[in-house]
Amino acid sequence: MSRLLVSVRAVYAALCPTTVRRRRGVTGCVYPGLLSSAGKKDLVASELPVLNEEELEEQFVRGHGPGGQATNKTSNCVVLKHVPTGIVVKCHQTRSVDLNRKRAREILREKLDVALKGELSEISVKKKESVQKKQDKRRKVNQSLEKKRLFKEALAAEPKPTNTDS
């Protein structure tokens, strides 16, 4: 799972007013690019649940003041909540609010996938595949080592050619 930074500490968040924003009037996910791009760990994005922006609440910490040109702040943490399930994602991975919003949605999709599908979720499937791959690899290596060992033993057991044989 990607590194989610819970960087908006309680103290910091308490000092700065947050605004809740619900995006309206868009059917399906606002960022169609997510559907065609693989998320982290090469998950098949098209297999992940599609987000409905109507069900999301976003919060941004922008501090006091009028915003826009009048304010220069570097805080760009995005907190995204999926209202029906209560799943919350915090993203502070990049220095761009726009990228953090997109990344938060990707992460939310992965979390939703786990929540909805459990063992059948993409992340679980990938984990299992990865474990299986490691097991297969180990087995092959052991087989190969075994073969070598047997070969060496066979060599050692063979009678050595001597001068008196000719």
């Binding site: 826009g68 040109q69 220069n72 991975q93 990049t94 726009d98």
Partner: protein, 336 residues
Amino acid sequence: MWRRRVLSEVFTFMGSCRNKKSQFIGASSSVRACSCPALPVHRITALQAVNSWSQHFQEKGVSEPDLSSRYITAHVLGAKTIEGIKAETLSRLLSPEKTQQIWKLCAKRLTGMPLQYVIEEWDFRDLTLKMRPPVFIPRPETEELVEFVLSDLKEKTGSLSILEVGCGSGAISLSLLKSLPWLRALVFDQSEDAITLTKTMLQLYHLDILKEEEAILSLCNGVQALVSNPPYLYTEDMASLQPEVLRYEDPAALDGGTDGLVVIRQVLNLASKVLQNHGRVYLEVDPRHPPLIQQWAESHREEMHYVETKLDFNNRPRFCILQKAETNKDRKQDLD
């Protein structure tokens, strides 16, 4: 002609002065050297540096103390954010060179210099842009302005050209070009510093829309879109700006006159002349502006139809979109 306000009364800490080009020079770190913590005698870890400076910034009243120390440390370690650095690296002892670099940058931040100017770069959408005072630092709200323009332009076929008024660091046009590399962008700014800074694949012109409209018109023919984040603050609000904004960023990039609309009106005048039929103008504005702009357009620029107001991520009216109605004289695109 912009009024060039003398802001010397604001400079209580440092001996900054304005030269003829109205460049604001941030104070050198030597002015504040005495209040900086000395370089540590023994080697410390990155984490220790972050915590130490975080505390120091807080004591000295520097805004966003935690974020400042984190971003600076991450930058010195070659990452964009502290989250991009492995825990083992953060717990490892810093080399003397890296420690010195961190101390040097943090000393600058201690003078109140905006973080983006301290590390000389910042991100806008998926770009990393160079930052240098007094060129205006892109704000996160403006990232959404780019989305609106992009979603409209993506639906258009044929050759595309846009005009940007007031490019600053080039954030808007460079973003558009990254997504639409075949886009032709004509970019203007009244500040020579801005033009020098924004120097890549754009046709850049050092022109002031308020004074040199004819020159601009001679360069543009029908464009599909005009985008601008023009200076839109009310003059009376300038004095109460965050100190670091006032001290370091070009006031000409911020001050929109008595009603904040001086440049906006001129952008709309230009829009009606350079846009193709159905071409759109996208503006970032002050939250009080949308109804005023709509009224003004209806009475002075009836060919510019008000399409909609969009909110920013703080739910404030922030963006205005207007569309040029079909007229008989369509400015044909100059197909070079």
